[in-house]
Amino acid sequence: MSHLLELENVTRVFGGLTAVNDLTFHLDQGEVVGLIGPNGAGKTTTFNLISGADKPSSGTVRFKGAVVSGLKAHQVCMRGLTRTFQVVQPFPDMTALENVMVGAFARYRSRQAAEEKAHAVLERIGMQRKAAALGRDLTLLELKRLEIGKALATEPELLLLDEVAAGLTPVEIDDILDLVRKLNGEGMSLLVVEHVMKVIMSLSDRIVVLNFGLKIAEGTPKEIASHRAVLDAYLGEEGYVA
């Protein structure tokens, strides 16, 4: 009955600005939900509220039936919900292996076990050859992969991907998409924020559309593509902006 992730009337106010306004949606086990909206719609704020980087002004976030809003980010991670960042956040003076090991230490106490896990993850994301390279020496594509690798090493049940395709070339995007699809194929649930429409449309089971912090539509990619309010929000037609 209960959903894997549930947002209930979540609101976040920054001073006079309501960044997220009464947002309610859910995500089920094994599902890929896309979160889209124009710039400033509140997507990243929503991510922060779910992952514990920020607290809602009101409303609750539930993960596996338990309230997680109000927990610290590291506590949320320990419960099985890990995020990646829109702007890649590597540990520049650590090797790729060590970067991933930090994630693995969330589940494994011993160094040897964490190292084995990290090697397995690097293999998985196709970065084994770069295991000994420093974070600062990796290319953007490699850093995007590493970002996913670090998160995977924490063995999440739900992975939050914040714009994994941003800044990549079309070929690189396909490359990353393959990886994400594989993860979902293996049963991982995903909440994806993305600007690149091609990515979100091909990846998502359902899409939630935000505009000015409000949910203006929710549905399958097909439904969303022809949704009036969505088109208005993106194309800036008159009459919608309240």
């Binding site: 590291h74 991670c77 930090v102």
Partner: protein, 349 residues
């Protein structure tokens, strides 16, 4: 094998150093003791500053707790400095927890963290200057040793002090090796590298920093206890003065932040420099000339090798070793790229 090697290297280096008293005159042996003492203090600082990235400019505070505390206990109840090392390990650890809670709770980093540590250490100068039980401005002095007394950490010659600090410094360096190779060490470095990313990967950044400052402070106090038995004298400025706190981090920075050997290398180079400058005619005429020298060395280090001596050595080794992914096979020189390429192709197939 890879995990035991750093310990063995440390044991060998310190084993060789154990013969120094046979070779050095009293003057140079005293210098060796100072090198080891400052290496000890800089290594303690390095746990929080180098690995954790939180640069304390007030570690003199914790050193002073050890020095004043041990002196007071010897003078009042004749309590052994050995015991004081344990007592003030805990007391300074708690003081570190206080400083950490005060600063990290409010997310103070970088210069702001450093400023708070300076302020607290400066406050300690005024507190001790007005605390009659601690000798106020005059400080505390211990009687000069008349005979060797290991239990009270009193020696008539430099040799005794040398071996005590040699073992203490070896222990703190092995502790650092151990710490850095464990989960805590990786997490501490990740906090230095990127706090938000660390937090997102399940690292409790607040508790990690708290443990680091407590350890760093506690170990610094042990160095402070050794300081008092070596000099037999402590006053407010000699431990809480800003020169002391700056010296501690200077050795770590010049030697290499976040490296096991950096603090020792930094101290081994800079302590003799300061002693020489102090003894020179310039040093006689201009008090504090050694601090001026330090300033120049610090600026040059920051400009030309911000990762310190050991840091530079490491990156050179990485660059040389990084030519071939599996390590260059013996006999293959950079002049023979053909061989190397074909090997890589073979591996790829």
């Amino acid at each position: 094998m890879r995990t035991t090697r750093p310990y063995i290297v440390a044991l060998i280096v310190f084993g060789v150093a154990a013969f120094l008293p046979l070779m050095l005159s009293k003057y140079y042996l005293h210098m060796a003791i100072l090198v080891l003492l400052w290496a000890f203090l800089a290594t303690a600082w390095n746990i929080l500053g180098g690995y954790g990235g939180q640069h304390s400019l007030g570690n003199g505070l914790f050193m002073g707790i050890g020095a004043y505390g041990a002196a007071y206990l010897v003078l009042t109840w004749n309590i052994s400095p050995w015991l004081s090392m344990g007592i003030f390990f805990i007391v300074a650890g708690l003081a570190g927890a206080f400083v950490g809670y005060l600063t990290f709770r409010y997310g103070l980093k970088g210069a702001y963290f450093a400023l708070v540590t300076i302020a607290l250490t400066e406050a300690a100068v005024y507190v001790t200057s007005n605390w009659t039980a601690l000798g106020a401005n005059n400080g505390l002095s211990l009687p000069i040793a008349q005979s060797n007394n290991f239990a009270m950490l009193q020696f008539t010659s430099e040799t005794g002090y040398f071996y005590v600090i040699l073992v203490l410094t070896l222990l703190i360096m092995m502790f650092t090796i151990w710490l850095a190779s464990r989960r805590f060490g990786y997490r501490l470095i990740s906090v230095r590298e990127n706090e938000d990313a660390a937090e997102a990967l399940g690292v409790g950044t607040m508790s990690t920093k708290m443990w680091a400052i407590m350890l760093s402070a506690a170990l610094t106090a042990v160095g402070g206890v050794f300081y008092i038995v070596l000099y037999n004298y402590v006053n407010p400025r000699s431990v809480f003065g800003e020169a002391v706190s700056v010296q501690i981090l200077l050795y770590a920075i010049v030697g290499g932040l976040g490296t096991v050997w950096g603090p020792l290398v930094g101290a081994a180079i800079l302590v003799p420099v300061s002693e020489i400058v102090r003894g020179s005619s310039l040093g006689q005429q201009l008090q504090g000339a050694y601090l001026l020298t330090y300033g120049v060395i610090l600026v040059l280090t920051m400009l030309f090798m911000p990762t310190g001596i050991v840091g530079v050595a490491k990156s050179i080794r990485r660059r040389l070793g990084g030519r071939a992914p599996e390590g260059p096979p013996a006999g293959v020189t950079p002049g023979e790229p053909q061989t190397e390429l074909s090997e890589q192709d073979g591996a790829a197939l």
